[in-house]
Structures are given as structure tokens and as C-alpha cells.
């Protein structure tokens, strides 16, 4: 099962979980799986049209999925997806 790493700012929506196992063979399915498990995350990740919000980035390994095949990027069972959010603190 692929794993999705959750950054601190979003952990309050995943009951504090830092990594969430997700189902699916594409990034889109993985995100849907995450949001189905934790519905309050939905508005933070996608807009009403289901597209990733512009301040949310998803990386597969070191690569931004925008530089791969976007939400259609295929996922293997051992892949780790990482959410990288906008952070403003200083």
C-alpha cells in the first residue's frame, strides 16, 4: 500500500497521524483515499472541482507530481507520497 506523509500543519485533520496508508494505483486515487479516511482534510487539499489547491504540493520521492504526470502519476505499493504545504512562520 502506498503511504502519504502528512506535514505538521495538517496533522490535526489526521488525528495526529504522521503517515497514512492509502489505497490506489495513481496519485489521484491516493489523495481520494486519504480524504475519504479524513474528510475534514478535503477543503485543505482540493478545490470544488477536485483539483489540487495551488498552495499544496505533492512529491513522489524527490519529484513534484507536477513534473511527472500530475494526478495521473502511477503509484506502486511501496511508494511514499509527501505533502508539502505553504508555511509562513518566521
Amino acid at each position: 500500500m502506498p503511504t502519504l506523509k502528512i506535514p505538521t500543519p495538517l496533522r490535526s485533520y489526521t488525528n495526529g497521524q504522521t503517515e497514512v496508508p492509502v489505497s490506489g494505483t495513481t496519485v489521484e486515487q491516493a489523495i481520494q483515499s486519504l480524504m475519504t479516511q479524513f474528510p475534514p482534510l478535503r477543503p485543505h487539499l482540493t478545490n470544488s472541482a477536485g483539483q489540487l489547491r495551488p498552495f499544496v504540493n505533492l512529491f513522489l520521492g524527490e519529484d513534484n507530481i507536477k513534473d511527472l504526470k500530475g494526478l495521473d502519476t502511477p503509484l506502486g505499493p511501496d511508494d511514499i507520497l509527501r505533502l508539502v504545504p505553504s508555511v509562513a512562520g518566521g
Partner: protein, 311 residues
């Protein structure tokens, strides 16, 4: 023509002079160089201290806040005796005590589209030590439009990010984050808390990247985003690529001048001090106490988390 070093300076910087990658010429380069630090808070503190100690000849400091006791847990350029003083004055005093041979310019004003170009003009490198999205986007756009490197750092509780956004050679901040989050989605340090030493780690990385850029040595964080987690003690990197459709550094830019973003961001751009409330929306604990004492009819909903209630 690089400036000469005085006898005192040769002594002061002797441990730099011993490093072949810095040496006498590198130290003279630092003396001739300049850095603008936006924000003299958690990130700006270590950046300012290390750049001053390293002998960067001209440092600019931008902030409009005053030193508050709640700053001292992490904003190490300020001391208890400076509480209530302007942050830029407090920081300038400390930097000149550390290194009297450098020039420190203090700008006690918000960094806005109206003054950003003028303030930044003489500086070689810009360091983003702010705590809000509006200024982060302003700094990015300014750096893209003027061809200056933006040494970026940002923190949240136990996690930090750092990079160098240098649009001449790679991606800018907008390539990664085209737009800021809408209001309310991302809390600030004042709301969320931050481990005091976290900005020390990230700020020191920013100072390192600035020094490397000024010296022209090493491989920078340009094109990479460092993700630091203090709890795991992990440093991981992801690759950043230029977005050809970026609104400011892409091939057909929509943004060709500076604009202010106060209106649409979650974190107030001009009211970031601990204890202050956003204009019109918040009231202080003291104001609430007065209202309750007066017997005002109010509906009070306590939304504090258990750990906040324990304070």
C-alpha cells in the same frame, strides 16, 4: 576593486582566512557585499547575527515591530533589556556590538510595494525572515523583477523549509506556490506556537546560503527545497523546477510590478506581533474582561484546545 582588510579585521576573521575557499579575497568580498534581512524575528535573528559576525560589510534590517517578552524564547538578537524598543534598533545595537566595523541600516517600516524597490536597491542578496504570506510574495516578486536571490526560510512548530529562489537560474517561490492559502487555512507562529530553536536551525541555514552566494562557493539550495523536521531530526530534499507558466518568472509573466497582498491572505500582513489582534476582527483578553465586567450581552464560545486551556 575589493576593499582592503585592516589589521583588526585580519585578526577578527583569521579563522575564515585559513579556509582556502574563503581566504583573504573571500573575506574582502564579504566586506564589499551587502544583505537585506526582512524581519528581525525568529529567522532574522540568527541570520543577522551570523552575517554580522562573518563580516558582511553592509546589512539592512526591515521590521516595524517592537520587542515583546514573548519574542525572547527564539528571537535571539534581542535581549530582555530591549523589551519595548523598536526591533530594528535593538537588532542594530546588538549587531554593532558584535561587529563595529560593519554598516547596519535600520528600516523601521512595513515592507510594502511602495518602499520595497527603494529599500532593496543597494543590496546584493535578500533574506526572507518574515512571518506572513503577503511579504513572502512581495519579496519573491521583488527578487524576480530585480534579479536578486531570495534566500528563503519558513517554520511551523517543529518543521522548517529552506531554499534559494534565484529566478535567473532556477525556480522562484511562485513556481512552487503559485498562490497563497485563503484566510484561515494556515495559522501563524503566534497562533500555532513554534519550538524556539527551530528558527535557529533554519535561519542558520539561510545565513549559510547567503554567505555561500556572496562568496560564490559551494552548491546552493537553488532548485532544491530543504525539509527539516526537528522531532525526527531529519533533513530531506525535494527537487524544484521552474514553472514555465509562472505568473512572475515564466515566459509570459502577468506580474510585472509589485503589488500588496494584505487583503487575501490568512495571516495578517501588518499585524503580526504576538498579543495583537487583526484589525476589526479580534479583541484582546483585556477587552473581553471589560465586556464581561460591564455585563455586556455576549455569546462566548471557548474553542481552546486542552493544552491551551492548561496555560
Amino acid at each position: 576593486m575589493l576593499p582592503e582588510l585592516s589589521r583588526e579585521e585580519i585578526l577578527r576573521y583569521s579563522r575564515h582566512l585559513l579556509i582556502p575557499e574563503v581566504g583573504l579575497d573571500g573575506q574582502r568580498k564579504l566586506k564589499a557585499s551587502s544583505a537585506l534581512i526582512i524581519g528581525t524575528g525568529g529567522l532574522g535573528s540568527p541570520v543577522a547575527l551570523y552575517l554580522a559576525a562573518a563580516g558582511v560589510g553592509h546589512i539592512g534590517l526591515v521590521d516595524y515591530d517592537v520587542v515583546d517578552e514573548s519574542n525572547l524564547q527564539r528571537q535571539i538578537v534581542h535581549g530582555t533589556g530591549m523589551v519595548g524598543r523598536l526591533k530594528v534598533d535593538s537588532a542594530r545595537t546588538r549587531l554593532l556590538d558584535l561587529n563595529p566595523a560593519i554598516q547596519v541600516d535600520a528600516f523601521n517600516e512595513p515592507f510594502t510595494s511602495a518602499n520595497a524597490m527603494k529599500i532593496a536597491e543597494p543590496f546584493d542578496v535578500i533574506i526572507d525572515g518574515t512571518d506572513n504570506f503577503p511579504t513572502r510574495y512581495l519579496i519573491n516578486d521583488l527578487c524576480v523583477l530585480t534579479g536578486k536571490p531570495n534566500v528563503y526560510g519558513a517554520i511551523y512548530r517543529f518543521e522548517g523549509q529552506a531554499s534559494v529562489f534565484f529566478a535567473k537560474e532556477g525556480p522562484c517561490y511562485r513556481c512552487l506556490f503559485p498562490e497563497p492559502p485563503p484566510p484561515g487555512l494556515v495559522p501563524s507562529c503566534a497562533d500555532a506556537g513554534v519550538l524556539g530553536i527551530l528558527p535557529g536551525t533554519i535561519g542558520t541555514i539561510q545565513a549559510t546560503e547567503a554567505i555561500k552566494f556572496l562568496l560564490g562557493i559551494g552548491s546552493s539550495l537553488a532548485g532544491r527545497l530543504l525539509l527539516y523536521n526537528a522531532l525526527d531530526m531529519s533533513f530531506e530534499y525535494v527537487k524544484l523546477k521552474k514553472n514555465p507558466n509562472c505568473k512572475v518568472c515564466g515566459s509570459h509573466p502577468e506580474i510585472t510590478g509589485l503589488v500588496d497582498y494584505f487583503e487575501f491572505c490568512g495571516v495578517p500582513g501588518l499585524d503580526h506581533a504576538e498579543g495583537k489582534m487583526g484589525a476589526g476582527w479580534g479583541i484582546t483578553a483585556l477587552q473581553l474582561a471589560k465586556k464581561r465586567k460591564r455585563g455586556d450581552k455576549i455569546l462566548l464560545i471557548d474553542v481552546r484546545e486542552p493544552h491551551e486551556l492548561a496555560i
